[in-house]
Every structure is written in structure tokens, then in C-alpha cells.
Symmetry: C2
Subunit: 417 residues, 2 copies
């Protein structure tokens, strides 16, 4: 009898952990992703803000899985899932048949039905997004230097980040640092220190998933860096020239970044399972689907609870779910009992800038330099691959000493394809 075939969709934290857990089994595994690389998403904002080169936070998926001879990596875009026929349909029309399916295709950004905003307020999810945002940020200063009027100069020197979650806070803090510390010497007409960075958040505090005291600390640290923190503000319009708020105010700007909403991958809709407002798929406690016990959903796409609390959409949770799904599939094959997913929460960290961060670790709250050092260690430790860690460490040490950023390079868009 042929060993069972497991198909994993997505090579993010969830999919990769799941694949590795099958690495020493007798199953045949195929992992499908539309990118050739696994991305260390927590540092993506560093690529967007020119602190790191793209290859520093990504590694080829097939390289990471090269030693597992039973795992095949496929670069392909999944078009559909057919649970009735146990088939995954790929972009070239070919299909993959599976005995078990793990859907780990994650989340994408959501403009809450205002998709026309996407052109003016790019979001940060992929390396291509990060390189696009990097270009927009660096070009804004260049255009400011060349602007014909004082008004245009001010527009180019106003940066707006929408969404006060960890990504928005990281982007706003880093943008303020670039304007204040990295660029001042380099321009002759503009003073880059006069750049404004606005962080706009709908709720009444930034980092709303953190304890309120840490939200306050984060706001203070952002303000110290020069960020204007605008909470309780609803965006009603975004166009090429700026952002309109519900209170009637208008912020002229050509550089708006969207860090406000996420939404489950569209593949969730193929699974004959309930999908919540954010596009996440409801799963049983063992991460499988009620109607399809051979399908598991893990990571940001899964809507699940652990000990009565909703599991947050973070990398650590996705990793743990990926591992749990693999163990449960192996248990199913061995006719032993699958276990419920239990999230081990090691805490939360958000960085704001140089020596500035907030975090909770084992019930302990911390902020400032200590939190930042802790954040640094954790991220270096988890960043996949020994080489990447060294390069990142070197780049960071260098930036810390000099305020220079290692990747202030952009290329003009490729018109060839």
C-alpha cells in the first residue's frame, strides 16, 4: 500500500512547522506555496524601512526542507480546493490528490470593502509589498527635495500610517527615526527632520492587544520619537493626495501605509466550513473540520480557542498549530486519539524604535531599553538559518552605531512583465 499523501498549502510558520513534523514519518508530503521562500514576517517592516535586505529575512522553502526526502516542495499558486474529490487545483490546471490536507495559507490585508484605497495606501504582507513600500518612502524624500512649492514639499514630508497594531507602531517609529537620525545630513533643500509621521488608530489606544499600561508606554515612546499618535480616529477617505478623517480633518500626503486590517486567505471559502467576518475558518479543537475530518486548518486562517480564549494571529501560535495538526494526522493514521490544540503563550512583544519596545513575558510587563533588548534577542534567535542571523546582527549592530540603514536602495519597477 502506498503511504498516505499529505498536502500542505502555505510555507509560512504554520505550514513549515507542519511539514517538519512529518519529516521523520513514512508519509509522502507535498508543500505548495506561491513564493519560493519562507518569510520571517516579524521583521518584514525592517525590509520596508530599508533596514534589512530582503534575502536577510527569507530562505528558500526547499532549502529549509532539503534533508527530508519524503517532502516535496512545489512552487505553485493554489486556485481551488475540492474537498469532495480530495483535490487541490493548481495554477496550471493540474491537480494534487490528497489523503490529508493542511490549509496554512494565512491571512491577507483587508481594506474593509474599500479596495480602491489599496493603490494609495499599500499594505505590508509580502517581500514585494515591503520593497514597494520602501521605494515609496525613499522616493518621498527625493520628491520633497525636488518639489516646486513649499506646500508640495510638506505633502511629501508627511507620512501616514493607518492602524496602531504592532506593524503600524513599528513602521511609524522607524519612519520617525529615519527622518530624524538617518537622513538629516544628506539633503540640501529640505530638512528631513521636519517630516511628520502620523499614526492613525480607530480604537482609543495603540497596541490594543496589550495591557493598557503598555499601550500608554508605547504612545509615550512614539511621541518621544516625534510620531503624532491619533487614536479614536476613523479614516473616511484615501486618495493620491492624502487622507480624510471622520472629524472632517484632512492630512495631505503622498505616502500612506495601511496596517489596519487582515482577512483570512480566500482559500478558506472552499472548505464547506463556517467562515467568520474576518474570513477565518472555524475548526474543531483538534484543528480539523467538522465536515471533513481529513482537512486541517492552521495559523492565521484558523478561528479557534485555547482554554476558552481566542488564539491570537501570531507566528508562535501558527507554528504550534502546524505541529499539532501533523501530530493529529499521524495519530489518526495510527488509530490513536487526536489531541485538542492548546496554545502555549510565551508573551507578546512590540518594538517601536531604538531602545524602545513594550512586552509581556510570563505575566511580567516591560518597556523601554530592556524590552527592546529582549525583543532583539528573541528575533535573532528565531530568525531562521544561521547565516541570516549573523548578517542581521551585523546590519543591526552597524545601524545602531551609525544610525545608517543597510538597505536604502530601490529599483525602478520592472516593466518587462
Amino acid at each position: 500500500m502506498e503511504p498516505p499523501h499529505i498536502v500542505i498549502i502555505g510555507a509560512g510558520f504554520g505550514g513549515l512547522a507542519c511539514a517538519k513534523a512529518f519529516g521523520r514519518s513514512s508519509c509522502r508530503v507535498t508543500i505548495v506555496d506561491r513564493c519560493n521562500h519562507h518569510l520571517f514576517q516579524p521583521l518584514l517592516y525592517q525590509v520596508a524601512t530599508a533596514g534589512l535586505a530582503a534575502p536577510a529575512i527569507a530562505a528558500p522553502t526547499r532549502f529549509l526542507l532539503r534533508t527530508y526526502r519524503n517532502i516535496r516542495t512545489l512552487l505553485a499558486d493554489v486556485q481551488a480546493i475540492e474537498p469532495a474529490g480530495r483535490k487541490v487545483v493548481l495554477d496550471d490546471g493540474s491537480t494534487l490528490e490528497y489523503d490529508f490536507l493542511v490549509v496554512a495559507s494565512g491571512a491577507t490585508h483587508s481594506y474593509f470593502g474599500r479596495d480602491e484605497w489599496a493603490a494609495h495606501a499599500p499594505a505590508l504582507k509580502t517581500l514585494a509589498d515591503a520593497q514597494h513600500i520602501r521605494r515609496r518612502i525613499l522616493q518621498a524624500f527625493e520628491f520633497a527635495e525636488r518639489a516646486a512649492t513649499a506646500e508640495e514639499t510638506r505633502s511629501w514630508l508627511r507620512f501616514i500610517v493607518i492602524g496602531g497594531g504592532p506593524t503600524g507602531v513599528e513602521l511609524a517609529g522607524t519612519l520617525a527615526e529615519i527622518a530624524r537620525h538617518t537622513l538629516p545630513q544628506e539633503f540640501r533643500r529640505i530638512d528631513s527632520r521636519s517630516a511628520e509621521v502620523h499614526l492613525i488608530e480607530l480604537s482609543d489606544r495603540v497596541l490594543s492587544a496589550f495591557p493598557a499600561a503598555l499601550s500608554d508606554k508605547a504612545r509615550q515612546q512614539l511621541q518621544r520619537l516625534g510620531v503624532t499618535v491619533n487614536t479614536g480616529a476613523r479614516v473616511t477617505g484615501i486618495d493620491a493626495d492624502g487622507v480624510s478623517l471622520q472629524d472632517g480633518s484632512r492630512l495631505p500626503s503622498h505616502t500612506v501605509i495601511w496596517a489596519a486590517g487582515v482577512q483570512g486567505s480566500p482559500l478558506g471559502r472552499f472548505l464547506d466550513a463556517p467562515v467568520d467576518r474576518a474570513g477565518r475558518v472555524s475548526v474543531l479543537p483538534d484543528l480539523s473540520l467538522a465536515a471533513h475530518p481529513e482537512i486541517f486548518v492552521v495559523g492565521d486562517l484558523a478561528n479557534t480557542t485555547s482554554r476558552g480564549k481566542p488564539v491570537p494571529g501570531v507566528g508562535a501560535a501558527a507554528k504550534q498549530m502546524g505541529h499539532r495538526a501533523a501530530c493529529n494526522i499521524l495519530a489518526r493514521m495510527a488509530n490513536t486519539k487526536a489531541e485538542s490544540f492548546a496554545y502555549r503563550d510565551y508573551g507578546m512583544l512590540a518594538t517601536i524604535g531604538r531602545n524602545a519596545a513594550v512586552g509581556t513575558v510570563g505575566g511580567l510587563q516591560m518597556s523601554g531599553r530592556l524590552a527592546w533588548l529582549f525583543w532583539l534577542c528573541v528575533h535573532l534567535f528565531y530568525l531562521i538559518g544561521f547565516r541570516n542571523r549573523l548578517v542581521v546582527l551585523l546590519d543591526w549592530a552597524w545601524s545602531y552605531v551609525t544610525f545608517e540603514r543597510a538597505a536604502r536602495i530601490f529599483t525602478t519597477p520592472d516593466k518587462r512583465e
Copy 2:
């Protein structure tokens, strides 16, 4: 009286050296480039073959010139030069008036009138080119793994490099190494070692600017790496499915790289000066133009001789010309005599792969590991910026030990612009 205004077009080796030579003068200098970065072109093939990240070989031009308060860096695309009015026209329609102009806009690739080949055989000149070629190379192996027929697999595993100069030799050698050493473990259906790399050269030997004995050494080293060296071969057609040669043979391939021809920048045609077949502008011995003594041309765009011999289109020559042009402008302003350009030739080096290179230094010929080590030291030394050098050294040390390449990452083309 206002100090004279010098405009430099191009921030390559020539333009940057020229700007720096004005750095301690009283002139006002504006350096214009359409990229935000100075590029260390000799290592561009490493970005194309996934050995280095783009930011490792480039640095923002305004960062490199930040300490010279009299130099202004402008990100702009020059549309035209009006020598009669002493004006440079920029992409937004604005103009720059100059007292002296240094044109250092370099060369671009030439398909010898067959521009329809460009879509199928990208050339390597900019970082965007390098990232495009990197994607094509990495995707070829991915498509081979997914190909439906054995014939298609073979097509995807056949790489063709056209042009046996230093760039072509470097690309072909590195491609063979990737197929033989980097990838073998990672694919399940294909054997990456079965990939063919063809180097096609019109003349009867590779590296024709080098002594014939070193061309032979280079050919041997390429063949040892597994490259098929096809000299005396004329390309008569390139399309999406392969390359046709004059002898009637056909090489089916989807990955063709053009390293055959260069041509002076189109700005050369605005200068009221004779332009040769390769688009290079004839200059007087002091690098200025006969009809316009206030215009200088340096680098790959200049057609000049030194001690009766044509000056080669290499970075060292461009640097020396940029410096000479600046000194001659300062001499002109001081009413002292301008000097003729004299090229100091330190030798030539071309790398082929791991421990494989050829070179001449001070009349001495070398090849193999010694030449390769020498090449390594020279390139690390000249690569601009302390940080870049360290990162590059680290990446290279790591690849040398592991055969892994640091930047095997590509992103899907950005559809947003």
C-alpha cells in the same frame, strides 16, 4: 560673483569620482542620476545569480556624498542636453543650467538592432536587471520540477549565456556551480546536475580582451565546471523557446541571458560631437569636446585613447577619467593648463567560479586559485563602504564553506505600477 555650477550626469564610477574631486572646491556641484544608488557593477552578476542581496553592492549616492556640503544629489532622469543654452532638461520638464557639464551616463546593452530579442534574453546592467535575471534562473528550476514532459524539463534545465566577455564568463561559471553544487539535494523529480549551461561567443575565444593563453585557461576552467563553450558561433534568432545559430543548430531553452553588446548612453547624441558605431562620443585628449570646451565626457560613454591605445570600458578607467575631468575643469577655472588623460592600467581580472579566475597584473599572467584569491581581495577592497564589505565577506565565506547562496529569493513582479 556666484561660484560656477558644475552638473554631473550619472553617479557611476566616473560621475562619483568626478563629484568627489570637486568636494573640497568652492564650486557648486549637482550630480543627477535616475537611480538613488551608486552601484558596484563588477559584482552585479552575484546579485543575478543569487549570491548577494542587492543592497550589498549598492549605496545611496547622497549618502556617499553627504559630507560635501557643496554637492547636491538629484534623483532625476535626464531627457535632453542643450549645449547651445548650457542646459540639462529633466524628466519633469525643469532644467538645470551649467557652467561646466560632465556627462558620465555610461553605456547600456545593445542587441545590434534586434531589439525584439530583449524580451527573451534579458541583459545585465542595473539592479532591476539582476533581480529579473535571478528570478528567471530560479524559476527555471522550479518550472523544470513541475514540467509535464521530459522535453519541457530539458528545456527548462538548459541555460544559454550569449557573449563570452567577463560578464558572460562569470554568469556561465556561476550557473554551472549552482546546478552542480547548490541545488542537487533540493529537488525530488529533477536532477539539477543534469542542467546544461551553454556559453555562446561570436569570436574564436572567450575573454578576447585578455592574452590568448588566459582565454585558453578560462575555457578549460569553464569546461571543468561543466559549461559547454561554443566559440565562433553566431546567434541568428532568439524567441521564447530557444536560440538559433547560424550553423542551423537550435538550442531549446527558456532561460537566455544576453551579455554580448554594449552601446553608449543615448545622451551622447545631444552633444554636437562625433559618435562612433558603439554610440561613444569622441573627446579631446583632456576629455572635453572640440565644439564645447565646457562639456566633458568620461567613462564608458567616452571614446578616447591613452598613449596611443584605446581606453577599455572598465570601472578603473571611468574613475580615473572622472577625476581627470574634475581636475581639468578646476584648471580651466584657474586659467592653468588642462592635462591629457593618461590611463593607469593596473591589469585585468575575470572570475569564473570557485577557485577559478584569470588575470594579468603588472604584466604577470595568473589563473586558477591564485587569480581567484586575488580577484576576491581586489573586489572586497574596492567595494564601497565598510559595512557592505563585511556583509559581502560574510556571505562569501558562508557560501564557500556550504555551497549555499545567500540570496536565493525572488518576488513576483509588482503589478501596481
